[in-house]
Symmetry: C2
Subunit: 173 residues, 2 copies
DNA sequence: GTCTATAGTGCGATAGAC
DNA sequence: GTCTATCGCACTATAGAC
């Protein structure tokens, strides 16, 4: 259900997705949808959190390594893989205005972003570190939905993106 | 009117913006809006094209220079300035699903993107060139709306983004 | 847990007065 | 060119049978 919602959100936007569309997508009626989630807002929230959980898992994997280049490499590889596996969905939670509103002031979102920045820039937290982190995330999650790469094979895209991201971070090859 | 629509689109998404909201924003009634545009689709199209025209102007400025590093520098500076001046609006035309649908197969959009890629990668047009171009555009237009940089001063953000973009392209300082 | 039925609201769009 | 008034429809949400 949450997955069906995310798929529709990323294809029509949150505002352009109705409960009827979600119900149709999973093959039930609106009433059944309302049984699980009392409001549309709750569905949006659940979908956004589910997608954020994927990012959190990638961050957690990278945190298993001691701080440094290896951890950064694991992080970048995880983000690239995630962005490719979910080309539209990942960008949606970062760019859709309705979901951005939901995450503004959200503690879990802030925590994941903070840990992500820490992995990439260590203890720096000034403007340079912030812009660098925001840029890398935006680059990867945004690039995968750009028309230029719409027709590219997943594996080709993966290799190119990884190369660019590693160079961006100053990591070996 | 087109500007009011773009502002609302970037704040609530295209699907989440009603004609009533647009009418209220510019201080008229729905009837007056319908006098200028026969359908909501036409408004969306006009708004998207207006924003695309800004990008086209930046590309045109860069094309005034002979192909090479100078042209690339002008291009990157123009894109960064545009993204900062219109932090939300520029990202909207690249990420909102409704607008992306409008641009899919659009000749003007394809032309601007083609010229942009040509400026950045010359005559190469393989996967590597495509991913590189898509990544740079996504990075800049996406980074400016990321929560990490929400509180940053425009000028600070501009300097950092320019530095990152230049390094990404292998341009001097 | 899924259904039908329906309330209440706001939507896109149209018609016609001024 | 802007207004009011209104149509038909789809929406979110609720109530209650099975």
């Amino acid at each position: 259900m949450v997955n069906a919602a995310l798929k529709l959100f990323s294809r029509h936007g949150v505002g352009g997705t109705s409960l009827q569309m979600i119900a149709d997508e999973i093959g039930v009626t609106k009433g059944a949808v309302y049984h699980q989630y009392p409001t549309k807002d709750q569905i949006v929230l659940a979908a956004a959190e589910a997608e954020l959980a994927n990012v959190e898992q990638v961050v957690r994997n990278a945190e298993a390594w001691p701080p440094g280049r290896k951890a950064q490499g694991v992080l970048v590889e995880g983000i690239v893989d995630l962005a490719i596996a979910r080309r539209r969905e990942m960008g949606t939670i970062l760019t859709d205005p309705v979901i951005a509103d939901h995450f503004e002031g959200d503690a879990v979102f802030a925590d994941v972003m903070h840990r992500l920045r820490r992995l990439m820039t260590g203890d720096e937290s000034g403007p340079e570190a912030r812009v660098r982190t925001a840029t890398l995330i935006a680059a990867i999650s945004g690039a995968v939905v750009h028309p230029f790469v719409a027709g590219l094979d997943d594996e080709v895209l993966r290799v190119e993106l990884l190369r660019l991201a590693r160079r961006f971070l100053g990591l070996p090859n």
